[in-house]
């Protein structure tokens, strides 16, 4: 016959509580570490691809998995040339990016250009554009990977 004691119930709670907290803290540490690696990836790998354009200084990076998308909205200005670099970590299958006008017209689709990760835009009228980035899905349905994706803008000095 089991006996009831407040003390043992409390101890049971604590014993069950510790693994839960451990898992949660591990998740917090892991997620923070991955984000930190994302900034390093943007700085060390993506930013140099902007050259000879100068990085505008904005930081746009996140973790995406296969099939997931992110949208970046930005106003681009007449008379300015921009370079866009859209890059993910090597573990990701590859990225598709499209530049879309506020009227939903597709202005550029890298799928038509061998999924190029770098492209220049000569803007002759000020407007707000969206850059839609999607992680392509590979052909292996059994595995799904995620990783950092960064979208950086460079400015031409001309």
């Amino acid at each position: 016959m089991a006996s009831y004691s407040p003390k043992s119930t409390y101890q049971n709670c604590i014993h069950r509580f510790l693994p839960v907290i451990f898992v949660l803290l591990l998740g917090l540490f892991y997620s923070s570490n991955v984000q930190s690696q994302c900034a390093s990836f943007a700085r060390a790998v993506v930013k140099p691809e902007l050259s000879p354009f100068i990085h505008d200084g904005n930081y746009n990076a996140t973790i995406l998995a296969e099939g997931e998308s992110v949208l970046l909205r930005k106003t681009v200005f007449e008379g300015q040339k921009y370079r866009i670099v859209v890059k993910g970590v090597p573990e990701l299958p590859g990225l598709r990016f499209r530049v879309i006008d506020s009227g939903s017209q597709v202005l550029f689709d890298n799928a038509l250009y061998e999924y190029a990760d770098t492209w220049d835009f000569d803007v002759q009228d000020t407007r707000t554009i969206s850059v839609e980035v999607t992680v392509r899905e590979d052909n292996n349905p059994g595995s799904s990977v995620g990783g950092c994706v960064a979208v950086l803008f460079g400015l031409s000095l001309d």
Partner: protein, 312 residues
């Protein structure tokens, strides 16, 4: 999954909540096991994944908003043929006034805009002094390593090389924003961006002296900031639960109503021509933008009012 966890931690400042939640779950786990036969692992996984939280995560993941950075704004001012005026910068000595997080964040953006403007006009000494102020504010905000002694030294050594100077400025700006975003302080990052954007707008409007005819190209670029303000307000809405951001939204709504006097008419469809060899796409369209002289004065005054509120 990592991103989902990160979002949850960010959105709800969730560690204390999770500790409490974890404790409650732990205490109830025994009976749940008996009742449902679920494994411990399944129960843990089920905690953060209710539909509302997943929806919130999906919404926040969906869109980045990118404002013209201080560097881009300074380039737009210079390309419009404007000149350098040291009297319109936020005085260096004002830094002693900034003791709250919101003031420090706003003025980190403001000093970043000032130093970007100074650097594009080859104002070496001013650029170094303003970078020094940006460093102090970044330190006070606990932004580790964004601007350090090495950055200042590198700036001093390369003052004659404008490209290197611009690269140093953009790197420092990115480091600040990346650090804040990574450390669940995105609301502070939004305030930095807001300060930088308002200062860019203030510099530009001051240079036109409230006259539509003074520099038509610059005036046009100012008026098109109506589009950037939409981006800024959308960005800020994500962090409305922060009291300081909510206050800023209300202030910027006043500016939005003045910007409503600006009319933008697209007079042609947008056209994109891609040159595959040079990997460049030309985006072409025609639009017209207008404001009355009196409304332009109101716009300049509103910008000055907001900026004064930020720097004092």
């Amino acid at each position: 999954m990592e991103y989902r966890l990160k979002h949850l931690f960010t959105k709800f400042r969730i560690l204390p909540v999770l500790l409490l939640l974890g404790f409650v779950i732990s205490c109830n786990m025994g009976s749940q096991k008996k009742d449902s036969g679920e494994s411990e692992e399944e129960i843990i996984e089920s905690v953060p994944m209710n539909d509302q939280l997943v929806d919130d995560f999906n919404k926040s993941k969906l869109i980045f908003y990118s404002l013209p950075s201080p560097l881009e704004t300074a380039m737009l001012i210079k390309k419009a043929g404007a000149t350098f005026d040291p009297d319109i910068l936020n005085p260096i000595g004002n830094i002693s006034r900034y003791n709250t997080n919101s003031k420090m964040a706003l003025n980190l953006g403001i000093y970043s805009a000032d130093l970007s403007y100074a650097s594009l006009f080859d104002q070496s000494q001013i650029t170094i002094e303003y970078m020094g102020n940006a460093r102090k504010l970044a330190d006070k905000l606990g932004i580790l390593g964004a601007v350090d002694e090495e950055t200042i030294k590198k700036l001093e050594q390369n003052m004659n090389n404008r490209e290197v100077v611009m690269d140093i400025i953009s790197e420092a700006y990115m480091n600040s924003n990346a650090y804040l975003s990574e450390n669940n302080r995105a609301a502070v990052s939004v305030m930095v961006l807001t300060g930088g954007w308002i200062e860019g707008l203030y510099l530009a409007t001051s240079l036109t002296k409230g006259d539509l005819q003074n520099n038509k190209k610059l005036v046009e670029r100012i008026l098109y900031q109506k589009l950037s303000l939409v981006t800024l307000l959308n960005m800020m809405e994500t962090y409305r639960d922060n009291a300081e951001v909510a206050k800023l939204i209300n202030e910027l709504k006043g500016l939005e109503s003045v910007f409503e006097k600006v009319t933008i008419v697209n007079t042609s469809d947008v056209e994109a021509r891609t040159d595959t060899n040079n990997k460049v796409t030309v985006i072409k369209a025609n639009s017209e933008i207008e404001i009355s002289p009196s409304d332009y004065i109101s716009l300049c005054e509103k910008v000055e009012e907001l900026r004064s509120d930020f720097i004092l």
